[in-house]
């Protein structure tokens, strides 16, 4: 193994690769990296591909199956490794909007997500400032209590919330003493934004606490001496400097709400766009009592994913640096 000599080169491509890998270990890491990358790409992209295949396949062909064709390879008959569409019907992407006002469902989801994100960012910023930058007795306990909320199953809240949002009087438990008379919120954005904000708040508070806690005190002091209040310093200095954290919290909240179904399917008493039923409600309404338009559901899913795709591509640098720097620094 003393010299690298052309005549010494071992035979066979594998042997040669091994030989070079020993001389240059970087190659091994590179190979491992590509292997891992390909694995993750396949597992994440395959479902999306499968949706596309289903979307362009006419609905009547879907039940029949046969998405894996047999092909002749060197005289043997083998299954093709990927499913292929049975027929070609791109009109499904148009039918999606003809059958039901799918754009309205998307708009509902978008509006709910934006409102919730704004509420969560503002309130979680205030909480993050307090938890991250101020010393007070009971801070850790309070923080734990808030985090504990995120471990409650959302189903635990559904019944009481539905009761309240239906406009019923709320009594003190086990008595007939009325606590308050709520206004009816079912089928309005309020009945969804309120529980979403509460449920997704703890994670955002946690992220922002971590970030705001890392901004040096001197910068806040400087801002206050220069002429801001504490709140002004939070929004003018601390928040901009925590941009990766704010972006992370915002995107996570936005995506969670955009994809939410459980609460919205109950708070919107029927899956109609006018009842503020969201995206998922729309997708499911391609299924009626007698028919199920799998191709339209697939096409609608693809259309629904697109805005998220754009958002994540645009914000991904921020999100990644936000997730990792928060993890590294604490």
């Amino acid at each position: 193994m003393a010299t690298i000599d052309d005549t010494d080169e071992p035979d066979g491509p594998l042997n040669r690769w091994v030989q070079r890998a020993i001389e240059d270990p970087e190659r091994v890491y590179r190979a491992l990296f590509y292997t891992a990358m390909i694995f993750f790409m396949v597992t994440t992209l395959f479902p999306f591909y499968w949706l596309l295949v289903l979307a362009v396949t006419p609905n009547s062909e879907i039940i029949g199956g046969g998405f894996i064709p047999e092909i002749e390879l060197f005289g043997a008959t083998v299954p093709f490794p990927l499913p292929v569409p049975q027929g070609f019907n791109p009109g499904a992407f148009v039918d999606v909007f003809r059958e039901i006002p799918f754009h309205l469902y998307m708009l509902n989801s978008f509006a709910l997500a934006v409102t919730t994100t704004i509420i969560v960012l503002v309130v979680a910023s205030l909480a993050g400032y307090v938890f991250g930058r101020l010393e007070f007795p009971g801070r850790a306990v309070l923080m734990l209590a808030i985090l504990a909320i995120s471990y409650f199953p959302p189903a635990a809240f559904v019944v009481p919330l539905y009761d309240i949002f239906a406009g019923n009087a709320v009594n003190i438990p086990f008595t007939d003493v009325a606590l308050f008379q709520s206004i009816e919120l079912l089928n309005t954005p309020g009945s969804m934004v309120l529980p979403f904000s509460a449920l997704f708040m703890p994670l955002s508070i946690f992220i922002l606490t971590t970030f705001y806690g890392q901004i040096p005190d001197g910068l806040e002091d400087a801002a206050r001496v220069e002429g801001t209040t504490r709140l002004g310093a939070l929004f003018r200095v601390i928040m901009p400097l925590s941009a990766p954290g704010v972006a992370t919290a915002a995107v996570l909240t936005f995506i969670s709400v955009y994809n939410e179904y459980f609460f919205s399917s109950i708070m919107a008493t029927s899956p109609q766009a006018g009842n503020w039923s969201p995206l998922v409600g729309g997708i499911l309404s391609y299924q009626t009592q007698y028919t199920t338009s799998f191709n339209l559901m697939a096409a609608a899913s693809v259309v629904g994913v697109l805005p998220m795709l754009i958002l994540v591509v645009v914000a991904q640098e921020r999100i990644v640096s936000g997730l990792t720097s928060g993890a590294l620094k604490e």
């Binding site: 040096p216 001197g218 400087a222 001496v225 220069e226 002429g227 209040t229």
Partner: protein
């Protein structure tokens, strides 16, 4: 521009008193240094003036206004921070104009002030840069410019030069003095570096354990320290301290005695224990002692370590039986630090005779640490020796 007054300001945290009954009266246009070791309360005092901390007791006045409970933004102050604290997400122009923009100044006025400030601190042509593209000195100047544009009543500077390298620090020191001359604003300057305090300020306020020890012009602090702490803190290297007791006609220390007439100084009587302080430059080797008008008797010592500084040599002398003492304590009875001419031919481990200048010997009360006298001979002929130390309370 305004005067500044602290009245009985006390700041207590749960179990610590950071500032204890601080009274400061700073005149309009004065440059005052708050100086003291780490944890002496100087930064807390500064924060109290800035409004970043609300005092537990006492009042803060800027000009005639009681600002004790006002938020920082309404106090008419500007501050330069130790860690510089430029906003990293803003360029130099936005950093400097931050305070003005918050106060809705017209655009032309902001431009005019930023330009003038940039001119004063020599930052022309750098207004577009981001803080992380600048050197430490440049950032420091941006921070100072940010304070200047506000045209504050009082400038607060919290160790602004601490993070700069030695050469830049000396340079910035001069620039700050020039700035003070130019702006003629009241400046409060916090530092733990007594050299900075000595060179820059009109008056030095020496703090220790949250209490004001002395506030006087630099040379008064140097020549007439009110107590042991100030004597040891001001001056580098520090003053020599030796324990002694007053006899009928001399002060006896473990290794030598100093001719002294107790009747000439108020506050000491034979039998009292005192601490004798003498600065390194007031110790003379015998051959050079001819100029000293009131020398002590020669003291035998052995030279230990020599530290040539270029313009002078610091010689550590061992007294008595001359065992090397590794103690860092200021009051080691067996050690004496002497500053001598750089051309001296003194070698290490030589026997030397030295004398002290009795006009420059300080006496401190052994129990309270307060100064009793500065100079222990009668030089004025009015019957009292040297300068009578003032009681500090």
């Amino acid at each position: 521009m305004a005067s500044l007054k602290l009245e009985h300001v006390t700041k207590r945290y749960e179990d610590v008193t950071a500032v204890d009954d601080m009274n400061l009266d700073i005149e309009d246009g004065e440059f005052v240094c708050l100086v003291g070791p780490s944890g002496c309360g100087k930064s807390t005092t500064m924060e109290t003036i800035a409004g970043l901390t609300i005092p537990t007791e006492g009042k803060v006045f800027i000009g005639d206004r009681d600002v004790t409970n006002l938020p920082p933004k309404d106090r008419g102050i500007a501050m330069v921070f130790q860690n510089i604290a430029l906003f990293p997400h803003m360029d130099v122009y936005d950093n400097i104009s931050f305070g003005l923009r918050l106060r809705d100044f017209p655009k032309e006025e902001i431009d005019r002030r930023v330009e003038r400030a940039a001119d004063i601190v020599q930052l022309e042509g750098m207004l577009e840069r981001m803080p992380d593209e600048m050197s430490g000195g440049q950032r420091q100047r941006v921070a100072i410019a940010r304070a200047i544009v506000r045209e504050p009543d009082v400038f607060l500077m919290d160790e602004p030069l601490a993070n700069l390298d030695a050469k830049l620090r000396v340079h910035m020191r001069t620039e700050l003095q020039r700035l003070h001359k130019e702006l003629d604003t009241t400046i409060i300057y916090v530092t733990h570096d007594q050299a900075e305090a000595m060179t820059m300020s009109d008056r030095i306020a020496v703090l220790d354990t949250g209490e004001l020890q002395q506030i006087d012009p630099p040379l008064v602090c140097y020549n007439e320290p009110t107590n042991l702490f100030v004597a040891g803190f001001i001056g580098s290297p520090s003053m020599n301290f030796v324990n002694g007791s007053v006899g009928a006609d001399a002060i006896e220390t473990p290794n030598f005695s100093i001719e002294f007439d107790p009747a000439r100084v108020d506050g000491v009587a034979p039998g009292d224990d005192v601490t004798v302080g003498v600065r390194p430059e007031d110790v003379y080797p015998v051959p050079e002692a001819d100029d000293v008008s009131h020398p002590t008797a020669a003291i035998q010592a052995r030279s230990d370590v020599l530290e040539p500084m270029g313009d002078e040599i610091f010689a550590y002398l061992l007294l008595g039986d001359g065992e090397t003492s590794m103690s860092q304590e200021a009051a080691t009875d067996d050690q004496l630090l002497m500053s001598i001419e750089p051309d001296s031919d003194l070698q290490e481990d030589e026997t030397v005779s030295v004398v002290l200048d009795r006009r420059k010997i300080h006496l401190f009360d052994d129990t309270t640490g307060d100064a009793i006298a500065h100079g222990i001979v009668d030089v004025t002929g009015d019957g009292s020796a040297g300068t009578r130390a003032e009681s500090d309370d």
